[in-house]
Each structure stands twice: as C-alpha cells, then as structure tokens.
Symmetry: D2
Subunit: 263 residues, 4 copies
C-alpha cells in the first residue's frame, strides 16, 4: 500500500481508533496495539477536566509512536470547539508532539444521536484553518458540505456511516460514494462501523481511512476485535486496489474452452 497522507504527514495504517468506552486502561492500551493503528483520537475536554478515568491518559500511550488526534467532543457550538481545539494543540505539545496541529472537529448540539451541526462545523473549520490547524471535521455524509469544507481548507472530511456508537454500519452508501468520488482530500469514514465486514466495506468503496472506537472498546473482547478491525481495514484497502468482480445476475458460463483452468 502507498500509505495515507494527511496534511503532509504519512501513515501506514488506515485505521484510527479512540480511547473512550474501554473497560480499563489496560484494555485500551492493548487494543490500540492490536489494531496496528498509528492515530488515536483523544477528547481534549475530558482530559483537561480530569474526568473520571482520564487521569493517566497522558502516560497511557506511547506518543512517540502514536500520533495524537485531539478532538472537540462535548462542544455544542463553533466557539467552544475553537477554544477546545486550541487547548488540544497545547496538550499535544506538552506530550511531546511539537508539530502536531491536527484537530478532529466535532460540533455536536444533539445529545441523543450525537450528530454534528453542519453550520457550526463549517464556521469553526474556517477559523481553525486560518489559525493553522489541520482540520479533520466530523460531519454528516453530505457531499455539498464536504465540498465546502474542502474548499475552506480542511485536511480531510470525516463523514459518518451511521449515528456514533450505533453499530448500524454504513447506512448512506450513495452519499459516501459521491463524497469519495469528488473529494480531493482524504475521506475518513467515522462513526457507525460495528463489525470488520463493515470496515472492509468502507475501504472497498474507496475510503482513505476509518475511525473505529465503540465497536472495539465495547466488544466482548476488545483486543481481539481491535486486531480484527486492523486486518479488515487492510483487506478492504487491498480489495479496492485489486478491483472486485462485477455483480451479475447470471452464473458465469462454465466452459472448458474459456480461461486456462475453468471451474
């Protein structure tokens, strides 16, 4: 594989994970390792607030190997998200990633489905790009919104497959396909993926990367699921490059005269 490039930075793995919802810090550490991921997203607000269970997070991962993707989870409007993004940049610096200007932008006024606000996200993205951030916005799978985000200078777009934590998979394939087709920045499918088959499917569609958290952290065995997601992401990418067979209504004619070895 040729690797994933975001804002000029190269990554071998096309799977990103998170730190939330795990049964324990150890489980999280081992799952991150097992997944083979190189990018882990962290909720800035909860780390800053010393939210229960976040006390040791700074030391829990080896930030010389894992690239931190600070996120603005918990922000309900553009202003909050901008402020938290700045805190995230400080946090990354403190943890030794001097040149890390990445932010996963989440503007989420909706507490039930945790769906993002398109207007607030675009406003915050514009401002953060001006401030030099590499902005990775979490958005509904809206091709026109993704285009606008790309135009204001976002480093990726991160359309959701289905509501976060729902495990419903990719419920809006038509739009995801259009986003992939038209996008000049990497497309990262974020939220909704519940199983490795769905992860592979996203990659087969041509997504550049995936972000999977709940499906790993809340699996009965997170570490094994993390490994599975890593393999599935690779499998999907390889298949995208290998070029799948077309879907047909009829069985192939099975003549010994065609092909070298006919089944």
């Amino acid at each position: 594989d040729d690797g994933l490039v975001i804002a000029g930075r190269k990554f071998k793995s096309r799977l990103m994970t998170g730190t939330g919802k795990y049964p324990s810090i150890e489980s999280m550490q081992q799952s991150v390792m097992a997944s083979g991921c190189e990018i882990v997203t962290v909720a800035v607000r909860r780390v800053q607030n010393n939210a229960p269970g976040h006390e040791g997070l700074a030391e829990a991962l080896d930030w010389t190997k894992i690239w931190m993707l600070p996120n603005t989870a918990g922000c309900t409007n553009a202003e909050e998200a901008i402020r938290v993004a700045r805190l995230g940049r400080e946090m990354a610096k403190l943890l030794g990633q001097e040149d890390n200007n990445f932010v996963k932008l989440e503007v989420i006024p909706d507490s039930k489905y945790l769906l993002p606000d398109p207007i607030g996200t675009l406003q915050a993205a514009e401002q953060l790009v001006k401030e030099g951030f590499a902005v990775l916005p979490y958005v509904n799978a809206d091709p026109l919104l993704c285009k606008r985000l790309e135009e204001v200078g976002c480093a990726t777009v991160m359309p959701l497959g289905s509501p976060i934590g729902s495990g419903q998979g990719i419920q809006n394939v038509a739009n995801i396909k259009i986003i992939i087709e038209q996008s000049k920045v990497p497309v990262v499918i974020d939220a909704g993926i519940g199983s490795p088959s769905e992860a592979a499917y996203g990659m087969e569609l041509g997504a550049d990367a995936l972000l999977v958290n709940s499906a790993i952290a809340l699996a009965k065995n997170p570490v094994i699921m993390a490994q599975s997601m890593g393999l599935a992401t690779q499998a999907g990418r390889l298949a995208y490059k290998a070029g799948r067979i077309p879907i047909k209504n009829y069985a192939s004619a099975s003549s010994p005269l065609t092909g070298v070895v006919t089944k």
Copy 2:
C-alpha cells in the same frame, strides 16, 4: 483460532479456493499462496478430460502442502456425480494423497445459474458416505436439506450465498443463520462471495469456513485479492470470537461518569 476440523482433519486456514477461471497457471499458483488457504478444490472431470488449460494442473500445486478437494463440477445427476467422485479419489491418490477421501459434491442440472439439485445431491451424498467418502455437498441454503445431509453423514454442508460467480454476496442471511445455528458439522459458505467484506460477514455470522473462487480468479489483480480474502476471513473469524457490539438506534450516552475513558 482453534482451527477448522473436517472429517477429523485439521486446518489452520478457514478459506478454501479453487483453480478455475484464472488468467494463467502462474496467477493461480501465486493466488493460492497469497490467500494462505490449505484446501483447493479441483474439477475432476476437466482434469480427466484434459480440458484446455488443465494439462499441467497436477504439477501446478504442491500437494504435500495443499489438501485437494476434488469436485464433481459438470455432473447433472447423482449417478454421474458418484462416478466422478470415485475418479476424484483415484486422482488424489495418484497425486500422493493416499488417505484423501474428500469430495465436494456438486449435482447441477441447471446450466444458467449453476444451482444444485437438492434431490440428486441427497441421493449421491447417501451413496458416497456409504462408500467411505467425506462428503462436502454444495447446496442451496435450505436448513432442512442441510439437516438431512448431516443426518446421512456428510462431513460438512456448503450452502451457497448467492448464485456461483454472481458476486452478489450473501443473499439469504436468514437461512444461513439457521443453518449455522442448527448444524453439528462445519458450515462452509460456498458461492456468491464477491468481496472481502462479504467474506468477513459470512465468518461473523458464525460460518466455519468459506470457499471463494471467482471473486479471486476474476479480480483485476487476483493475487492481491487472494491476500485480501485471506485477511478478511481471519478478520471475520476473530470478530465472531470477539463478540460484536449490538446494533442500536441511539448513540451511547456520552457521560464522563460512565466507563473508564469516555469518548
């Protein structure tokens, strides 16, 4: 993984492949290797008939490492299939697999969709079991037929996901699930799988193994697709063991008070 056991024989890989439809013998050889499979099915009839492209098949694979699964492709009724199964056993012996009594039983009167005949398949299976074969019957995903085949002593059941070569994936999930639930012999999903996401999905459902041929042989790049299918089969198996998250309508409540590290 604990491995796949068929008729007392143990295999590490849960992916089976075939030799048909490849652009060249080399492509087939490399794809079999890349897939990591340990079982390869071979059309006895075409080898026996010296059908074009089958001349070198006996030497093309290393039968000390690959377990041959002779199949009765091209047989339209039970009698033919029984005869060809016996030829297959001889062929395996000649190639050095003295104790190989496996046969993939195909009774296919339908030349358009290559769908199997339930009645003829059951008749042939009964006879072949009596003759000491380990019978792996290719059948429609019919739970009652699978039960009957198990009762007459088949070594596995091989329900199809969708018509062979169609790449339509698993089109009868409800029945496949029931077959997996009730079956005491390994369930091998055979036919229809077109992409690694579908391979992973089959394994997530709890299938014991998969047989994939067209989706590899007819991909633009068969070798890379073979590797992808191998990874996806592993990913699906791991996910089955890891226990996926339930599908929910709502996002998970995202409170910093629940869980150790909340996203």
Copy 3:
C-alpha cells in the same frame, strides 16, 4: 389487471390470507373483507380437531365468495400431509365447494422455524397430483426444487420470503427472481412478508400472488393492515406492469432541452 389463474380458476385479487392468529373471529372476518382477498387458507387439522377457537370457523366466512385453500399445517411428513389433504378436500365439499381440489401443501418437521422439508414435500406433491389435487406447495426458495415441483404437476410454487411469522420480508431475492424467471406456473410468495412495502416489492419482482397472514393478524390493528396489504399488492402488480425506472448512480441531466417538460 388480467387476473390470477390457478389450476384453471380465475381470481381478481392477488393477495391470499389466512385465518390464524387473529385476536378474535370478528377481527378475522373484517380483515379478510378489508384485504379484498378471494382465497383464504385454513388449517384442516385444527378445524378437524376442534382446536380451541376453530369451532365456528366453518360458518365464519362466506364460502360462496371466498375460495378455500385447505392447508396441511401441523404435518411433519409426506404421509400425514397426504392424509390431511384428503380431509381438506372433504371439508371443502361439506362447506359447499364441490369442485375445490386445492391444497396448500406443508410438510414441516421443524418446529422452531417452521421451515418445510424439500424431500417430503416433493413426495407428497407427486402423490397428491396423481390423486387429482391442485397442489400449492410451500417451499424454501430453491429454484431447482421449484422446477421439480412444477414438473410433477404442481399448480403453483409457494417459495417463502423468510421464516414464517418472522416479518423479515424477502430475504432471498436472488433465488426468488430466478424462480419467477423460470417458472411456468404461478409463483406465490408465502411467509415472511411483514409490511406492505415488502408485499409491493414481492409483486414488483414479478410474483403472481402473495400469501400474508401473521403480518395482518398480529398487527396492532389487523383490519387496517389488511386493507393496506390489499392496496400494496395492487400497487406492486401495477408497477410490475408499468415498468419501473432503472437504478442509476447519477442524477438525470436536467436540461430544458431534453424531454417535453423537464423538472
């Protein structure tokens, strides 16, 4: 519409219903009326046994207007089914349908999913055809089995969409399509339909008729659901004849120069 013809008998409605599972006899009577159906299936065994709630069934429907379709529910093998079919013919005669030789053939050894046995069904069908019955066999959606049933002289084939009472809809579209394409007798989709959209879908695929029972009888309001199913069956048939638009990836070019009135 040109109407449905089964064994030489013509029906205007393409929806069949049943009498089971209703909250009350009145609810059943009104639902049958509201659905507009002309064929109602009745479980011979339960009527004969005077099972609770079946006492007044003979008088509950107007058999001068509704064609009775006696079924062999509760039979686990061919012999039982043949015996019950004969009883059904007597029952129809007693209720005034002298020339009614219809039987919905069910051979169901499986008490959990109520899935039919292909072997027993074929055996019973052969015998019943010889005895002059118009046999409507309930089967898995197996194209080869349906072909065999047609060849022994069945009046229709009745493939199931998904397990009876499951409301999972049509879970095996690939096979249903093949059955419709190849069948020379009417294809009636029986079991699994849970909503009018699924009923319409079945008819759009080209099915000749549908049998819906649980989805009506167990709806919160059976009478309104019956009316809905009747309309949906009509809608699906009309759409089949009207010829739906192809599915496309792209929007239609919206030029005022093409077409008469461009949207």
Copy 4:
C-alpha cells in the same frame, strides 16, 4: 386518514408529483390525475423562460383542483433561489391561486448529482420565511440541518432518500428515522424513490408525505405507475397507523391453544 396539513392548508393525498420529464403533456396530465395527488411542483424558471415544452404548462393542469408548489430548480445559490421564489409567487397568483405562498426551495450548485447546498438553503429559507413564504426546503437527510430549518420557520422539511432521479430508494434510513422522530413540521421524502415499495416504505417509517416525479414520468407506462404510487402511498400510511408486527428471528410458536384460530 387524518390528512396532511402544511402551513395551515389541508390535503387528503400524501403524494406530491411534478411536471418534468414526461414523454408528453397528455401523459403528464393523465398521470397527475391517476396518482390522486393534490400538490404538483412546477419549475418556475423553466416556465418563465418558456423552455421547450413548458409553453402550455399554465393551462395544462386545473389549478382550481391542484395546489401549485413552485420550485426553484436551476438555482445554484441563495440569491437566485430567493428571486425565483418571488417569481413563483407571482406565477401562482396569475394562475388564480391568490393565497399561495408555498415554495419548494432548491439551492443546487451541483450539476452532476443535483444535491442541495445546506448553507445556501438555510440562508434562503431564513429570508423567504421573513417574506411570508411557506418554505418547503429540499435537503440532504441531515437531522441537524432539518432542525435548523424548522427553527427558522420552514413549513416542512424535504429530505432526499437518494440522489434525484437515481431510483435508489431510501438509502439513509437511519437519518430519515431521526428526522421523523424529532420533527415538529411535516417530513416529506423527496427524491430517490423509484418504485411503489419504496414509497410505501417511506410512509411506513412515518413520513408525512412523499414527492415522486422521475419514477412516474420516466416509467415505461407513466399513468399506471402514477396510480401505483398513489396506492402505495396510501398503503404505507395505513400500515404506519395499523402498527406492523415486530421483526423476529424465530417463527411464532404454532400452538392451537394460543390465539383464537392458529395457523
């Protein structure tokens, strides 16, 4: 049925249609009649421009019976859409609908998929509401955007099921469900519906109405398809009210002791 109420105006039919893409004016007239619809959307711009085939549109429909829904098709930004909406109001007045202040708001910079711009749509909606319009905005199925549109005073929201004219059906069920759940104004599914089963499905989900154009106008027989869509819309609404059965994995236990008449 209790009827559809939009901006205080009551309609019996829950199906809206259009005038575009028909093979002839006659075909359009008869299809509108056959569908039973009471609201027809008209592209203001093309009528104003005397685009080919739009010459007689004003006289083609009986505007004493059909409520006109002028649309802003062809507008690529908010300013254009506002201007065309005003023209639409004049057009409706000229055709005798003095009190018609409805506008179907389309802001579509994308000429390939005809997908709407969320930002421009919201801007135009805000202005048009201020000017006293009953605004029916055509949008991606984005729950947060729909909420914002409701908050600025739109009369409905019109999320798309899939790209216009694609006939892909409802490809984003998860989002459509959330929109229906949270919306206080009527939800009209617009675009993508290709068949009556999809129309029924949209209504079963709880949509208040549907807009279908291409699937009727471009069917092989538009008039019959129009009738079918009308029936399916009714069927779906009835089913929504009747309360469908839950989806189950298992067949219902079939005991003669439960229920009155057990199948």
